[in-house]
């Protein structure tokens, strides 16, 4: 049998899920399929169980934050089919008021810590996750540091005003802080 190509996969996805696929775009050597978040599990499960495609390896998953977008928060998943050596990226975006995703641990056990990382750094909730708690940061931290509104520089320090070098913390007012 001929080796399936990425076009086959995308055509099949288009045929099977049709309107649930919001967009498909190509960036360098990778195709990204944009979907809404309630279809993540069904779509990845379908690709996992598929006889010829067998996308059974979850390469990575991570959170995204585009503060100016209409739907600012998102998850990115990358799956890999080791039999056909095809890779595919999925993205699902959501609004700030609805940060709940379905857990992917039912399909890939490896998603466990990846989702915990996304919870830790972006504050996403994963419905059905077996052990959703912070993983890299301390448990009593009260914010999610990879969101864009959290500056890397300590906003209470005025010796680090380095605007010329692009290191100006957000919400930083030098005049207010100067002694």
């Amino acid at each position: 049998m001929e080796k399936p190509t990425l076009e086959n996969v995308l055509a099949e996805l288009q045929q099977h899920f049709g309107s649930n696929i919001l967009a498909v775009e190509q960036d360098y050597d990778f195709h990204t399929v944009h979907i809404s978040k309630q279809h993540i599990v069904t779509m990845l499960r379908y690709l996992y169980d598929h006889d010829t495609f067998r996308f059974q390896y979850l390469t990575t998953a991570c959170g995204l934050h585009y503060p100016d977008a209409e739907r600012p928060f998102g998850m990115m998943y990358q799956v890999h089919s080791l039999t056909t050596n095809l890779r595919l990226r999925f993205k699902a975006f959501t609004t700030a008021s609805d940060l709940e995703f379905d857990t992917l641990t039912t399909v890939f056990p490896a998603a466990n810590w990846m989702e915990r990382e996304a919870f830790d750094f972006f504050g996403f909730h994963f419905k059905g996750h077996p052990n959703l708690k912070r993983i890299l940061n301390v448990e009593d931290m009260d914010y999610h540091p990879l969101r864009k509104e959290y500056p890397i520089e300590d906003a209470t320090r005025y010796d680090k005003d380095d605007t010329l070098f692009g290191r100006r913390p957000a919400g930083y007012d030098r005049k207010r802080l100067q002694p």
Partner: protein, 405 residues
């Protein structure tokens, strides 16, 4: 070693489990790992790993640094094979800006990356020896790891956190001394490796200790997204160098060793064989370099990303402008998303870079193989002895820097 003793069906009322903290700073775990173990006598019933003790917010830091300043961050992930991380990062940015590299640079990179792989595997395998009680092997091969660090020193001036190479190539050509040392290594390391193998490979005590210790099936390993030697030890021949060749790896002849049981012994053997393969790759790379007409190029011709030589900066206006623009991060970068992965010491080391055209990445996510496969650790040590848990961890080569980012 898995025991036949079934801990799950024994009635809970008659048993009292004890809780044991393995770590955070335990001399038997090489790095800062905490595992809260639930013990039934000497048998592990359950384990809860806590990680993040050396979390340094690399992904956040990277959002605030120009591309060339991120290389030192990557050093500090898997610090046993920093050059691979550095090269992986350079290649990611090169993919983003669409830079074509000269063949000579690619072969030189292959040499450096394979040296790094050898030094990574030397550490892991000799430490497996130490954890089984054999200090000798460790002392024998560590001089070669030291020697590889001397080669790094000759190439870039640093030993552990190397920051080797630049976006577009190397900061300087390999020196005469560097070539001499690489050739010396190629000549002398095989004898050292052989000696190391003689000590351990067919050693009855070592085999009894490691065979069936912390096994994982190929199926489970894939479900947990294992990669690198740990996945190959379980019998899956996935290697990024072959599946998605980068830096001219497709031109090289090498074997991908695979194991069958996915236990400590198989992981040890896979790494051992990979070192031999790496030596062969380095030899091939030197041959290819000798056949090239080009004997001097050590970087691509991308003046807007590659720093010009200092004497030109002082005497030449154009070079001065480029220097200024690069250092200030004022060079335009295309918008886009790139994923690039390399075969690191521990497996698929990926860089997912989102660029919005600014001086820093908009978002940078590291696919760190350790982080992903370490979550299978509790499953792998359940039902085994405490001493096997230590051995399983060292044979998985969990590096705290890569785990915690």
């Amino acid at each position: 070693m898995k025991t036949n003793f079934d801990t799950t069906t024994a009635p809970a009322t008659e048993k009292e489990y004890s809780i044991l903290n393995l770590g955070p700073t335990h001399p038997a775990t090489h790095g800062i790992f905490q595992n809260v173990l639930k013990m039934d006598g000497e048998i592990i019933v359950d384990a809860e790993p806590t990680i993040g003790y050396i979390h340094r917010a690399f992904e956040k830091l990277a959002e605030h640094k120009p591309f060339y300043q991120i290389t030192p961050i990557t050093d500090r992930m898997n610090y046993c094979s920093s050059p691979i991380n550095n090269m992986g990062w350079h290649m990611t940015v090169e993919k983003l800006i669409g830079a074509e590299l000269p063949k000579r640079v690619e072969y030189m990179r292959v040499i450096v990356m394979e040296l790094a792989r050898i030094s990574d595997h030397i550490i892991c395998n000799s430490v497996i020896g130490v954890d089984t009680g054999a200090m000798t092997g460790f002392l024998y091969v560590f001089q070669w790891r030291e020697f590889i660090y001397e080669i790094y020193e000759e190439l870039c001036g640093a030993r552990l956190t190397t920051n080797i190479g630049r976006i577009g190539g190397f900061e300087r050509d390999f020196s005469e001394t560097a070539w001499r040392k690489i050739n010396h290594l190629l000549k002398e390391l095989p004898a050292g490796l052989k000696e190391f193998e003689n000590l351990l490979v067919r050693n009855r005590i070592f085999m009894d200790r490691t065979i069936n210790c912390g096994p994982i099936s190929a199926e489970r390993a894939l479900q947990y997204s294992f990669s690198g030697p740990n996945l190959r030890a379980a019998g899956v021949d996935y290697d990024v160098r072959v599946m998605n060749p980068y830096s001219s790896y497709h031109e090289f002849e090498f074997d991908i060793p695979v194991g069958t049981n996915g236990d400590t012994y198989d992981r040890f053997m896979v790494r051992q064989e990979e070192m031999w393969q790496s030596l062969s790759i380095i030899r091939q790379a030197i041959d290819k370099l000798n056949k090239l007409d080009d004997k001097t190029t050590f970087h691509a011709d991308i003046p807007s990303f590659y720093l010009p030589p200092k004497e030109e900066v002082y005497n030449n206006m154009e070079a001065l402008i480029y220097h200024f623009k690069i250092v200030m991060g004022e060079t335009d970068v295309p918008k886009g998303e790139v994923y690039h992965c390399v075969e690191g010491g521990n497996g698929e080391l990926g860089f997912y870079l989102i660029s919005d055209g600014g001086r820093q990445p908009f978002r940078l996510h590291f696919r760190r193989p350790c982080y992903i496969y370490y979550q299978a650790y509790p499953e792998m040590i359940k039902g085994s002895f405490l001493s096997d848990a230590v051995l399983t961890m060292s044979s998985m080569n969990v590096i705290a820097g890569e785990l915690d980012a």
